[in-house]
């Protein structure tokens, strides 16, 4: 079953309508085999719908997807044994125990008894569920459920894993373990498509696609995405962040301004030659002391740049910049971001990310 196809998933103008709503709009995807590919996008942007089309649960309204060399819509039955799918909402049997659920999945995939037992034991310990074998799945905590669901999804050793927000309820430490597991799988040749709202997860992916209202607005490695966005990012550390926020909010050239505790991140169009000067001058005029630096865009900056700013078109440089938009964008991609991880200490998370940035992503990238 080892396949040497270059792309595990290729989609062309993949489109899905629900009545008049275009949930997925002409999406092209090329997902290389053996990589972890991230799907980033706010609520309702079409992540789940795309994943469902890729595993043959929904027929595309237009376009097509080739998955592991097969047509996702036509050959969906042949794909069932080769794809592992973890649904966004828990879909195992709540009235069965952890062990019974895994046993059922093993049986339905016709894995021979001895091998099945071996795998169940292995998965239970790998996903920290040993000792909970007899607990009803319905009584597990959210994070435990998601670990169980992942175990169930990889039980039959699929070549391709489609994970729809697999860690939305997993705590940071378990999330780290969870991702370690994904990297292990990827090293063994499994292709993984994972949708997420978490920036720290997105940055771990080899490649990312950002979806916004059904449209793929950006695609590439986190590094490449950061280089390609049309803005400079200036980080401001001010004693009085509120005042700085107010002052910078008046500057038309600053197209996006986001606040993180005592820090601010401002985005200024690439065409502007001296972004630091603009920010520095604005702060001086307001009499605010601050430390300012240009920084490499992180995923949230990228996300804001490609989604929030997309709809406002190119920035008019000559006229000195009519304010295109100066939103006080909440830090966080989507509302659900705020819901799921409101209390995460931003600064430490940020530093983490920087580490990841220089480390893993680039190592494991091309």
């Amino acid at each position: 079953m080892k396949s040497n196809i270059e792309f595990a998933i290729q989609a062309r103008v993949l489109t899905r309508r629900f009545g008049s709503l275009v949930a997925v709009n002409e999406v092209d995807l090329d997902i290389p085999s053996g990589r972890i590919f991230g799907f980033l996008g706010p609520n309702g942007s079409g992540k789940s719908t795309t994943i469902r089309m890729l595993c043959g649960l929904l027929r595309p309204s237009a376009g097509r997807a080739t998955v592991l060399g097969l047509d996702a819509a036509r050959d969906s039955e042949a794909l069932k044994n080769r794809i592992g799918y973890m649904t966004q909402s828990f879909s195992l049997y709540q009235d069965l125990s952890v062990g019974e659920n895994l046993q059922f999945i093993g049986e339905i995939h016709a894995i021979p008894r001895r091998e099945r037992r071996r795998r169940v034991g292995e998965l239970l310990s790998r996903y920290n569920l040993a000792g909970r074998e007899r607990q009803r799945a319905g009584t597990l905590s959210g994070g435990q459920r998601q670990r169980l669901a992942l175990a169930a999804a990889i039980m039959h050793r699929p070549q391709l894993l489609l994970l729809d927000e697999p860690t939305s309820a997993v705590d940071p430490s378990n999330r780290r373990d969870f991702w370690e597991g994904l990297f292990e799988l990827a090293e063994r040749g499994t292709t993984i498509l994972v949708s997420t709202h978490y920036m720290d997860e997105a940055i771990r992916c080899h490649n990312l696609a950002i979806l916004d209202r059904g449209v793929k607005v950006a695609d590439g490695s986190p590094q490449a995405l950061g280089e390609s966005i049309g803005t400079h990012v200036v980080e401001v550390r001010a004693g009085n962040a509120d005042a700085a926020h107010l002052a910078l909010g008046k500057i038309p050239r600053i197209v996006s301004l986001a606040r993180l505790g005592s820090r601010l991140r401002a985005q200024i169009p690439k065409q502007t030659a001296e972004p630091l000067a603009i920010v520095g001058e604005a702060l001086r005029n307001a009499g605010i002391e601050a430390e300012i630096n240009t920084v490499f865009p992180d995923i949230e900056d990228i996300f804001v740049a490609v989604t929030e700013l997309r709809e406002h078109g190119p920035i008019d440089r000559e006229s000195g910049g009519t304010p295109i938009r100066n939103p006080v964008i909440p830090r966080g991609v989507a509302e659900s971001r705020a819901e799921t991880a409101p209390a995460r200490p931003r600064d430490s998370a940020r530093d983490d990310r920087k580490g990841d940035h220089g480390g893993r992503v680039e190592d494991s990238g091309r």
Partner: protein
Amino acid sequence: MNSLVRIFAVMHKELRQLSRDRLTFGMIIGMPLLQLLLFGYAINTDVRNLSAAYVDEADSHLSRQLIADMGAAQVVTFGQRVASPGELVALLDAGGISVGVAIPDDFDRRVIARDRPALQLLVDGTDPIVLGVAERLAAIPLRFDSQTGIEERQRMMEVRNFYNPERRSAVNIVPGLVGVVLTMTMVLFTSVAVVREKERGNLELLINTPVRSTELMLGKIVPYIVIGLVQLALILAVGRTVFAVPIMGSEWQVLLASLVFICANLSLGLLISTVAASQFQAMQMTFFVFLPSILLSGFMFPFEGMPEIAQAIAEVLPLTHFNRLIRGIVLRGADISMMARDMAALGVFTAAALTLAIARFNKRLD
């Protein structure tokens, strides 16, 4: 081979879920017992002690004897003796009594001459049960001291046999009840079988496994066949011990007929399950099938007495055919080969419903 393994996997899962579901489990045993008690006893038990009054204008030895006999039968309790037939009517009108007995002053003469009715029963006919009671009262023999009584008694005995509901109902009801209970439980159990997976969110997982529609349907049916047979055994055993209903024909033939009938109901339930959008809808549809089954199948009313349209509808219902089969085998000791048409009808029904259910079940979300 793998197909069998997958069917077994579904069965295994169904049985496990069933064993956790106390309500369903209770229904398997509780439903037949409750129905037996309700139908068996309620219909079997005599109506007793209806309030009554009488007017005895004859006041002869014979008339006093008759009143005493009527009272002794305990069907009615004579609360009072009134002076005129007019008073009886007034009491009846006021709802004070359900039955009035009016004995005219020439009662003895009328009995001997038999040219006119010897006495009048005034009955509140709005309640059919009371009407039935009156008919039973009319069957009470007049006891003569003279030899003429022999002839009289014989004639009355005929009437009495005709109206004796006891023997007839219990014997007829118990085998009929097998069909009613099986219809109720079997259709209900499977009608929620698929839609429950949908409602609980398990379907998205299930349709991403290699299980085929046919395998899923068979896996969901087989456990309930066993349950149906348990119910059959329970009803017949209670019928024999409590209601003294013997099985005249072959037990194997009872089993065979029931098996086909159970499969017909399970298939119908599955079909409902693939149509219904929620468990509640499934139950409504089950009820929609159940009502005509009870009313038209010959369980409640004699089949021959129904209008042609009702008979035509009844021919489509599995219960109609099963009633003929089970009553034939259990009560008349008939051989199943004499009722091959009904067996064939059940077989065709099963095949059609199952095929439709399998065709309707779609391993897609759209």
